[in-house]
Amino acid sequence: MSTDRKKYFRGSSDGKAPTFKNPLDGVEDRYDLIVIGSGLAGMTAANVLARSGFKVLLVEQHYNLGGMATWFKRAGGHVFDISLHGFPIGMKKTCRKYWTKEIADRIVQLESIRFSNPQFDIETTFTTEDFTRHLTNTFGLSNKSVDGFFAHVRGMNFYDDSGATTGELFEEHFPGRNDVHRLLMEPISYANGSSLADPAISYGIVFSNFMSKGVFTYSGGTDHLIKLMKAELRRNGVELRNKVQVDRIIVDGGRVAGIEAHGRTIEAGSVLSNANLKSTILKLVGPEHLSSEYRKGVESVRLNNSSTQVYLGVKQGETIPFVTDLLFTSTRETFDSPSLCDKHGESRTFSFYYPKTRPGSDRYTLVSSMNAHWDDWAKLTDEEYARDKAILIEDTLTTLERLIPGTRRKIDYVEASTPRTFQFYTQHQQGSSFGTKFEGLGYSMNLSDQITGLYHAGSVGIIMSGWLGAANYGVITANKVDSFLRQLESIEA
């Protein structure tokens, strides 16, 4: 095995690096709560409940914590952030309440968001004032219709779903204005994989979260954030274990009893899964423990789409002038939702990471993202896969050079990820980067009605997606777990 140890395991084509010791060594036999998965929902729930005094074990299959809130390093001093693109102001309050002031204080506003496509070329701070200014001045809409739209989406809440789609919502307020629909939909599609066909209510809630004070990021980079979160989890007494592959959630007489992993059984009063909803219910639990109605329902839940990304590392010593923080770009004449997922399509976003992303650093990186379908990448031969990744990289570099001439020669590292990469690292079914569609939410929230003590939190239903949605859903679920565990304690006492 000594040669295996030296091998550098890189990405989905190489498989996983072997582990040489049981990752559960030293873990106790029983906890109040076991959290499976360390996405922002899992970590936030673990932190809230540990702070409340419960004994918590957090297990993660990957070698880092963070789930999709992750990063990777490459030779040449490059650090690439996967999902740091931007989140709503609410994240600041969430971090302050459920994490630490130090984390919250590092949340800073992005200076600029740009759109560049055949219909319009604009720069905005994505605040209500600035967005309204564009909608009235650039797009020539009346203040009345803009205010009417904002009032409508702000007033939407989860409990009164009218059944309308997002496309119908846009058509109601801005009929025939494909350019306006593009402006409103594109950023949200990249933020959570939603489309014009998804419920208007899911759009309204997410859009209103963003459209208040602008778009925010974490100063220090994803690695810094996760490092602080890890320290806080430890401080609150959470037992953290990486590289743990959970085989099974143990159910006994309709109640959750613990987990099985690496040949061990670990008991728990409650289990909270932050793994993909469908994997949790259909694989880790198993259909025999579910009512047939619930099982069929979960089987029919649609996964959200996946993504491709291209990571561009700027050579040390080279600089890029400030262009914008986030650029939504397309050469497509008009907007439609499905084309955002086109393989080798015409629309992509660029996140520009300047030295300000990691204060003290002098490095620049760019990450280009597209939405993508699993099926377009799943069944390729190795040759086809390599060829298609090369096309993806070349298209991205060509687009970049067109937008900011002279940038291409400054890049000294490129790499692409595909739905297969996301599937490999996150174990999400079909590499889904945004959890499930809307209907997944009900099944996620009602899991404990099927199996007492078992809960799910994670990217579901579009609303509970993205950094803020995931973290807050972790807290919402933590509240239910807290209630359950306290009842359990009072019965046992």
């Binding site: 409340s52 807290d482 306290r486 009842q487």
Partner: protein, 90 residues
């Protein structure tokens, strides 16, 4: 706990959840949301804190009872009977 103490118990919890809000002079009959900035996550925090400090189990359908300080007192007084006031930010 008296009615005044119950209201104080709720205000103390709010002061830990929303430390920047001014709680002196709140009208007990007016919805909290109309007087200070509280979102749905903050109300969830109030529910969790009530459970932690006073073992009050509030089912989801009762969350609306936290609308005003008066409705909080009506709902919580019978549930806090015989309990001592626990203040964190006093």
């Amino acid at each position: 706990m008296t009615r005044d103490e119950t209201i104080l118990a709720v205000k103390d919890i709010i002061s830990t959840i929303a430390p920047d809000e001014e709680l002196v002079g709140l009208d007990t009959a007016v919805p909290l949301r109309d007087q200070i900035e509280l979102d749905s996550m903050d109300f969830l925090d109030i529910v969790m804190e009530l459970r932690k400090r006073y073992s009050v189990q509030m089912p989801e359908e009762d969350y609306g009872e936290l609308n005003t300080l008066d409705s909080c007192a009506d709902y919580l007084m019978p549930r806090l009977e015989g309990q001592e006031l626990k203040l964190q930010n006093a």
